[in-house]
């Protein structure tokens, strides 16, 4: 799954990686707001320039970043085509440019900032700590649960793929295992003296 690649990228070494997560988060929001609030060609061109420079500084594979940002394109393309047909090609192009650039900015942020760094920033910014901790747990166990799902998928593929009800059984089993996993984690937390809210 994609998260492995982004996770690996985020642990790289570059001036952009070294920048504090708070600064990068502010820059990301700044660029997104500028693109959204003033979607004119000067903004688009300036943002593209800045993001290209940032991507160069990050030392990450440029085409890799571009292709990840392109995940937004299928959604965008439909609406861009509709807008084009309704007689406004300029607006259609702007739509594509805006969503692609925004996606690229988000990829660049995630690819140069390890998750723990930005969740700590969110926590310092007084985000509800329950939500931030849930994000951290989710990310940590994504690597475990996704592996289980992948194993199930291979096992099913080896026997001719899922039918509808069998897929339901697999997802149900995945749910039950995830529930047990949560019990195990909680038990392990208690065993190491956990008494209150997680920190």
């Amino acid at each position: 799954m994609h998260h492995r690649v982004i996770d690996q990228w985020s642990r790289g070494v570059s001036p952009l990686h070294a920048l504090s997560a708070g600064v990068k988060l502010a820059a990301l929001l700044g660029i997104l707001i500028a693109i959204s609030a003033a979607p004119t060609y000067p903004t688009i061109i300036t943002a593209s320039g800045l993001l290209t420079i940032a991507a160069m500084v990050s030392g990450l594979p440029f085409t890799g970043l571009l292709s990840r940002a392109a995940f937004v394109l299928p959604f965008t393309a439909i609406f861009a085509l509709l807008t084009w047909w309704s007689g406004d090609p300029e607006r259609a192009l702007l739509l594509v440019a805006k969503s692609f650039l925004s996606g690229f900015a988000a990829v660049l942020f995630a690819a140069t900032t390890p998750l723990a760094a930005w969740t700590n920033t969110l926590r310092r910014c007084r985000f509800p700590s329950t939500l931030v901790t849930v994000i951290e747990f989710l990310y940590r166990y994504l690597f475990v649960v996704a592996q289980q799902a992948e194993t199930m998928r291979w096992a099913a593929r080896g026997r001719g793929g899922f039918r509808f009800d069998a897929a339901g059984g697999a997802v149900g089993a995945l749910f039950a295992r995830s529930w047990q996993r949560a019990d195990g984690i909680h038990r392990a937390m208690l065993a190491r003296g956990f008494q209150g809210t997680p920190k």
Binding site: D7, P114, L115, A116, T119, E136, F137, R140, Y141, F143, V144, Q180, R181, G184, I185, R187, A188, M189, L190, A191, R192, G193, F194, Q195, K199
Partner: protein
């Protein structure tokens, strides 16, 4: 010899009515390493969960001279280090260092002290190189070491390891045995791995249907209960699940 764990007449029944433990008597002395054998579902894991108060059954449990009760559970959890079968359950913090520091922080230690303890524990298990890594970047053997470090950082007097060799390759099992042999704590190994137990344990206890069915040297127990993976005879035992 100082007795660090003393259990008398421990019984436990799950909510669904399964009698998991049916009058267990058990003891562990300082510096001793005991292997706990028994079929799946014979109550081994249920038993060790009692030793630091994660489950509450009837009977008497004393750890380091302290009778276990709700009031003393926190103190006892600091003395009894429990290493779980699935390391992924235990390594839940974002980085290795934070995870190992989780226990000491719960003991209410100041941040510099927690970090010192965590680094020390990671040194003991030979994992200082991974301090900033995320747990999901570790191999199974490394995860097990970090899980042990997380427990050692609480400076326990007793170590309990539930199936420590599961999913480890042979070299990692060997390294683990070496590591454990050099730790001074009293140890209880819950395991199916008789070779591993033979290498480490001085005494073995055999569980059957929530009771202690036998006790003796590791060799003695293995022979008495035909407890080998590759013997022509196999023992049929009640396979009720403990969970």
């Amino acid at each position: 010899m100082t007795r660090v764990v003393d259990v008398r007449g421990l019984r436990y029944r799950y909510a669904d009515g399964t009698q998991a433990l049916n009058g267990i008597d058990f003891h562990l002395d300082a510096g001793e390493c005991v292997a706990l054998f028994g079929a799946n579902g014979s109550g081994k894991t249920t038993f060790v969960l009692h030793l630091n108060g994660l489950l509450e059954g009837e009977g008497h449990i004393e750890v380091c001279g302290l009778p276990l009760s709700r009031a003393t559970a926190d103190q006892i959890r600091a003395k009894v280090g429990l290493v779980f079968q699935d390391s992924d359950d235990q390594l839940f913090m974002p980085t290795v260092l934070e995870d190992v520091a989780f226990g000491p922080r719960n003991l209410g230690l100041a941040p510099p002290e927690t970090e010192t303890r965590a680094r020390l524990a990671l040194e003991q298990v030979g994992m200082t190189h991974a301090i900033q890594k995320a747990p999901y970047h570790l191999s199974a053997g490394e995860k097990r070491r970090v899980a042990i470090a997380g427990v050692l950082a609480m400076q326990p007097e007793i170590l309990i390891l539930d199936e420590p060799t599961t999913s480890l390759d042979p070299p990692a099992q060997r390294d683990l045995a070496e590591l454990l042999a050099n730790l001074p704590q009293a140890k209880l190994l819950v395991t199916h791995d008789t070779q591993f137990a033979e290498a480490l344990a001085t005494r073995a206890v055999f569980f059957e249907r929530g009771r202690v069915a036998g006790e003796g040297s590791v060799d003695d127990i293995i022979h008495r209960f035909h407890w080998q993976a590759h013997s022509p005879r196999s023992v049929s035992l009640d396979r009720r699940s403990a969970k």
